[in-house]
């Protein structure tokens, strides 16, 4: 039971944070971070655990966002209901794409998912009568839960982070079950996994669909809290960014996702003048990550601790 304490402390910290930052612009940043934590958790599942390099997570994010925007704003559907429909729809799309495409491996899978992302992005541009085309979708109605309308960032903070923490907890549980083991096994050696009774096709698709539904959920929340979305959000660069969020902090760890997302989404706020060079910075981070710290920041910290311990023993 003691193991629960850090999680409870973390939840307490999250819920008290707005009081410390009252009125600050950082609440807005934290809302964005909370949204992307949900999407990045899905990336951690499909890329980190199942080892399937998906380059269309931003497209799933966009599908959720546009589903919510169109259903609530154009057709006046209840936002929560629209969000669930979005998740279901995105999950079905991911299943339809994933079942054939996940037979591919490595680069081929990456290219195929990249292609799917491009298709979604150009659909969002082309279907202008529903999506608003390249100019984006404006004035999305705010989130409304049981008659309560969310308007300010302070108001969005709590539902978004609550959902975020629930997603993190559920995903951690999945990761520590036989499902996480099966995914990790197929990532390690799919031939051996299959010989040990792991239905590799099923677990690949399961990870892909779950990650797509997480991304869709995050997209819906983003659409309401930001009130404006554009096809740009389905861009490949955004998918790459989501992968960096999952990898930078430390792959396959709850806190790694939190740290990675916080860093990536804080960079443009801290270095405002860097906005034009944002892709340069994220690209550079990716290169440094791949070359020097494949286990992410948590891996670096663990390495330092292990080295200090060794020195202590001597």
């Amino acid at each position: 039971m003691i193991r629960i304490v850090p999680y409870l402390l973390f939840a307490l910290f999250i819920y008290l944070l707005p009081a410390l930052l009252a009125g600050s612009y950082w609440i807005h940043v934290l809302v964005i971070i909370g949204t992307y934590v949900i999407a990045a958790t899905g990336v951690d599942l499909v890329v980190g655990f199942a080892g399937q390099l998906s380059l269309c997570q931003a497209a799933f994010f966009a599908l959720g966002a546009y589903a919510s925007a169109i259903l609530t704003t154009t057709y006046r559907v209840d936002p929560v209901f629209a969000l669930l429909i979005g998740m279901l729809f995105t999950g079905l799309v991911a299943y339809g794409v994933g079942a054939p495409v996940l037979r591919l491996k490595g680069y081929y899978l990456a290219i195929a998912t990249l292609g799917f992302g491009l298709i979604i992005q150009s659909c969002l541009v082309t279907l202008a009568q529903y999506t608003g085309g390249p100019d984006g979708f404006r004035d999305i109605v705010p989130l409304k839960i049981a008659g309560y309308t969310f308007k300010t960032d302070e108001q969005y903070y709590y539902p978004i982070w609550t959902v975020g923490m629930v997603i993190l907890l559920l995903t951690r549980n999945i990761a520590r079950s036989k499902i996480g083991r099966a995914m990790l096994a197929l990532r390690g050696d799919d031939v051996a996994a299959s010989a040990m009774g792991v239905d590799i096709a099923r677990y690949k698709v399961q990870a892909f669909v779950l990650s797509a539904m997480y991304a869709s959920l995050a997209g819906s929340l983003y659409a309401h809290s930001n009130r404006f979305i554009s096809p740009q959000m389905a861009d490949l660069s955004r998918s790459v960014e989501m992968i960096i969020m999952a990898v930078l902090g430390g792959i396959r760890t709850v806190f790694g996702v939190l740290i990675g997302t916080t860093i990536i989404k804080s960079i443009p706020e801290v270095l405002e003048s860097f906005l034009d060079y944002q892709m340069v910075v994220t690209g550079a981070i990716l290169i440094v990550l791949l070359l020097y710290m494949p286990q992410g920041l948590i891996g670096v910290v663990r390495g330092v601790i292990a080295r200090l311990r060794l020195r202590g023993e001597r």
Binding site: K178, A182, M196
Partner: protein, 251 residues
């Protein structure tokens, strides 16, 4: 007969790797499949486990034709294996590697895993216990929590045995289990194979080490150029002139 191979044939372009091969494996025994390099042993092995589709012929397991069933379905039916070149799951401990083998026998799914329902926790405990038992059986319990890839090769092979046994299979196929092992490790392997047989599990062994084969096998089948050339007890095989010619070359 727990496993029956009938007219199994496999072409690779013009090469006939396995040609009209037929033999059967008796329940509860140890049968060795031997032959010179390139005789078609591994090809046969891969067709039995489902990694490779036969060009012709069929494999029957407990009277049921396996046809095009994928490897994981064969595993669930009770057909397990180890690998010639060790294939540990990286980023997992020794215990977790073995747990993957047990997992196919539990029923709880995504929903109960996400919510850590009692059902999932019970399965988790059972699988952990079972995997630990397996590691004790092969004498690797002390390394349970070490990363699998940190083990020396000999121990990784032992871990694969525990992993292959984890699902309570009816037959285990060993693909050159003695490759790369020293004399002491090979001796331990022979003892383990006999202990597996004692548990009532059938063994099909592909092996180059003749001393090991002669020591543990109840029956031996010899193939060369993809065809069966002899079948019998170890002593019959030892004195079979055709086998001697195949191994020593024509003189």
């Amino acid at each position: 007969m727990i496993l029956e191979i009938r007219g199994l044939t496999r072409f690779f372009q013009r090469l006939t790797a396995v040609n009209e091969l037929s033999f059967a494996v008796k329940q509860g025994g140890i049968k060795a499949l031997i032959g010179p390099n390139g005789a078609g042993k591994t090809t046969t092995f891969n067709m039995v486990t489902g990694l490779l589709a036969p060009s012709r012929g069929s494999v029957f397991f407990k009277g049921e034709e396996l046809a095009t069933l994928p490897p994981h379905v064969r595993a669930r039916k009770g057909l397990s294996r180890t690998f010639q070149i060790v294939r540990p799951f990286a980023e997992m401990t020794v215990l977790e590697n073995v747990m993957v083998g047990c997992d196919m026998r539990t029923g709880s799914g995504l929903f109960s895993a996400a919510l850590r329902l009692p059902r999932c926790l019970r399965d988790e405990r059972r699988v952990r216990h079972k995997a630990m038992e397996g590691l004790e059986f092969v004498g690797l319990a002390a390394r349970a929590n070490d990363p699998a890839t940190s083990l020396p090769m000999g121990e990784q092979r032992v871990m694969e045995i525990a992993r292959a046994l984890a699902s309570d299979p009816e037959i285990v196929l060993f693909d050159e289990p003695a490759a790369g092992l020293n004399e002491k490790e090979t001796d331990q392997l022979a003892k383990n194979l006999l202990r597996i047989k004692e548990r009532g599990i059938t063994v099909l062994l592909v092996e180059h080490d003749m001393r090991l084969v002669m020591r543990v096998s109840d029956e031996v089948v010899v193939i060369n150029y993809g065809s069966l050339i002899a079948e019998g007890t170890p002593s019959e095989i030892r004195n079979n002139p055709e086998v001697i010619t195949a191994y020593l070359g024509k003189s």
